[in-house]
């Protein structure tokens, strides 16, 4: 049951993030929304790993069912990728703020200032 709850919460988190992404005009808000949604996808993978009464998949922790180690390993990779992408995009935002003096997406999209 906990797995299902976590999965549904992950979907809710993704929804929250994606709504922020498409609704806000400020690019920083968009990136924040994207990050929240990424958190949702990571939580979803962790939820998939869940087993009822599972223990951590480490040898020597006694008998009983274990949780699935593979999604947990995938999550490790996904977290690093999301972090790296966020760091890079924030640098780009800093750069654009410096050059264009705005973080508003419709203004950034105007093709007038061609430099």
């Amino acid at each position: 049951m906990e797995g299902l709850t976590a999965g549904l919460m992950a979907v809710a988190l993704a929804g929250l993030g994606l709504w922020t992404l498409v609704h806000r005009r400020n690019v920083i808000w968009k990136l924040l929304g994207l990050n929240v949604a990424s958190g949702g996808s990571i939580l979803f993978l962790v939820a998939v790993a869940h087993r009822p009464d599972g223990r951590p998949p480490i040898l020597g922790l006694g008998p009983g069912p274990a949780t699935d180690p593979l999604p947990q390993a995938l999550v490790l990779t996904a977290i690093v990728i999301h972090f790296a992408t966020l760091a890079l995009s924030l640098v780009y935002v800093v750069f654009l703020t410096e050059r264009r003096h705005t973080q508003d997406v419709p203004k950034l999209e105007r093709r007038r200032s061609r430099r």
Partner: protein
């Protein structure tokens, strides 16, 4: 398999060392040699092998797609290497890493490994698109970054759903299990995988980050993106269509993409954006072929390779023209191009509109032969539109000054001609007179269509970040629903 994996690792190692030691150019050259040696060792293919132990190892396969890509990737890399040879070492290191990522992507048969490889490819592309600190290029890169991340997020949900249902990430194993879409999580997972990969591939509506990103990238980078990196999403879609019953959806996406991209390309004035819209349009051919499966699958592989070569050539020549004159729009470029750029554009156009006997003719007609009749006519309609759209470029073919950076152009043109010769010699059914007549008539009719269409100036909806993001959400809801309903 060991040889292929060693080739990829050598690419990564040389790229990393190139970034840090200041010997990126040497590293790139050595990497090209290493890639060719590795290809020589594993050609003509290897059966599936796990890299890492079961049950978690990553399956790698050296099949036709992998072989086709490995054969021409060194050529594209060499063209980019030569054109950008004056750039600093770190640039060459990044290019080497990006090419290595593509080599790894085409080998992989693992859902999550494809995710990681696509993300590494996108990250390196972001860096290279924004390499010149110009606000427009950086904005194009950031837009690409945001939309690609949304796509990959949905792909990750798809990975979780498919893994949760089938308990495996290997596409070969998934194909053996022969999934049927009566079970909702599986259908939804497969739909999300297709939607996520479609964003990366540049399918119409969801992939409209592509014109800005390609249009603003430096010349060599645009060649690399159009000729190589952009195809990684397509390869992912092809792998998905191979192992899960999603072929119909991929075909439908192909039809949408083919005509949608063409619609925007017809009236675009900016040379590089025009070429980028045509990338979207040509992706339609590939997706239709991959979605139909069977003999059309191989034909679509060939089309992908041919497209990489001539689109790389077009972007290279267009980039040289823009670099030499400082102008970007087609009317203001007319008659001012250096000779190399004009000839490169001419050969590329000749190839892409499908005038015999160059690569476009070979690959398009072969795809038409292998597809069913209805799709054969769709391809003809698309070819008509492509000709009409490319007729705009005719004033550019007259060179206005001698010289120009010819190195990369010559390499890629050599690739196009080589592919055409190989195709005409090896592929069956291309020497029929009616095919040649049909291709020539299509070109003439296309030129006529251009004269008619140039009278109109429709206002197409503007492409903005928010609209594309909403389109991604909508499409990734529609595809799983379709699979649920009809799968």
């Amino acid at each position: 398999m060991t040889a292929a994996a060693a080739g990829v690792l050598a690419y990564f190692l040389l790229g990393t060392l190139g970034v840090v030691t200041g010997k990126g150019r040497l590293g790139g050259a050595l990497a090209i040699v290493a890639g060719l040696v590795s290809l020589g060792l594993w050609a003509p293919g290897f059966p599936e092998g796990l890299i890492g132990d079961p049950p978690w190892g990553i399956p790698l396969v050296g099949d036709t797609i992998a072989l086709a890509f490995w054969c021409f990737i060194p050529l594209v890399h060499a063209a980019v290497w030569w054109h950008e040879r004056r750039r600093p070492s770190a640039f060459h290191g990044l290019v080497t890493l990006l090419v290595g990522t593509c080599l790894a992507t085409v080998l992989s048969r693992d859902l999550f490994n494809l995710y990681v490889a696509l993300e590494l490819g996108s990250l390196l592309s972001f860096l290279l698109i924004g390499y010149d600190p110009r606000a427009r290029a950086v904005w194009g890169s950031l837009q690409y970054l945001i939309l690609a991340t949304v796509g990959m997020l949905l792909y990750l949900f798809g990975v979780a759903l498919v893994y949760g249902t089938l308990g495996t990430l290997s596409l070969t194993r998934i194909a053996e299990l022969a999934p049927d879409f009566a079970h909702p999580p599986l259908a939804i997972g497969a739909g999300l995988l297709v939607a996520g990969a479609a964003v990366k591939a540049g399918v119409f509506l969801v992939g409209l980050w592509l014109p800005t990103a390609y249009g603003e990238a430096p010349t060599g980078v645009a060649t690399l993106l159009a000729g190589l990196v952009g195809k990684m999403g397509i390869v992912t879609l092809a792998r998905l269509a191979e192992s899960m019953p999603v072929g119909t959806v991929v075909t439908a996406l192909g039809v949408l993409t083919g005509f949608g991209g063409l619609l925007y390309a017809l009236w675009e004035k900016d040379l590089k954006r025009f070429l980028a819209y045509h990338v979207i349009s040509q992706i339609g051919y590939m997706l239709m072929g991959f979605g139909l499966g069977g003999p059309a699958f191989f034909a679509a592989t060939l089309y992908t390779v041919a497209h990489c070569l001539f689109k790389g050539l077009l972007f290279q020549a267009g980039g040289v023209a823009v670099e030499a004159t400082g102008e970007r729009t087609i009317p203001s470029l007319a008659g001012r191009l250096p000779r190399a750029a004009a000839w490169g554009l001419a050969v590329g156009t000749w190839a892409i509109v499908g005038i015999p006997p160059l690569a476009g003719f070979v690959s398009k007609e072969y795809l038409g032969i292998e597809a069913t009749t209805a799709f054969s006519w769709t391809f003809t309609a698309l070819a008509l539109g492509t000709t009409a759209s490319f007729s705009k470029l005719i004033p550019l073919f007259r060179p206005g000054r001698p010289g120009g950076a010819w190195g990369g152009i010559a390499l890629l043109a050599f690739g196009v001609v080589g592919f055409s010769a190989w195709g005409l010699a090896r592929l069956p059914g291309l020497w029929a007179a009616d095919l040649w007549a049909k291709a020539l008539i299509t070109v003439v009719l296309g030129y006529g269509l251009f004269r008619i269409l140039s009278k109109f100036r429709p206002r197409l909806p503007e492409v903005t970040l928010d609209r594309v993001a909403v389109a991604i959400l909508g499409v990734s809801a529609i595809i799983p629903l379709t699979l649920l309903a009809f799968g």
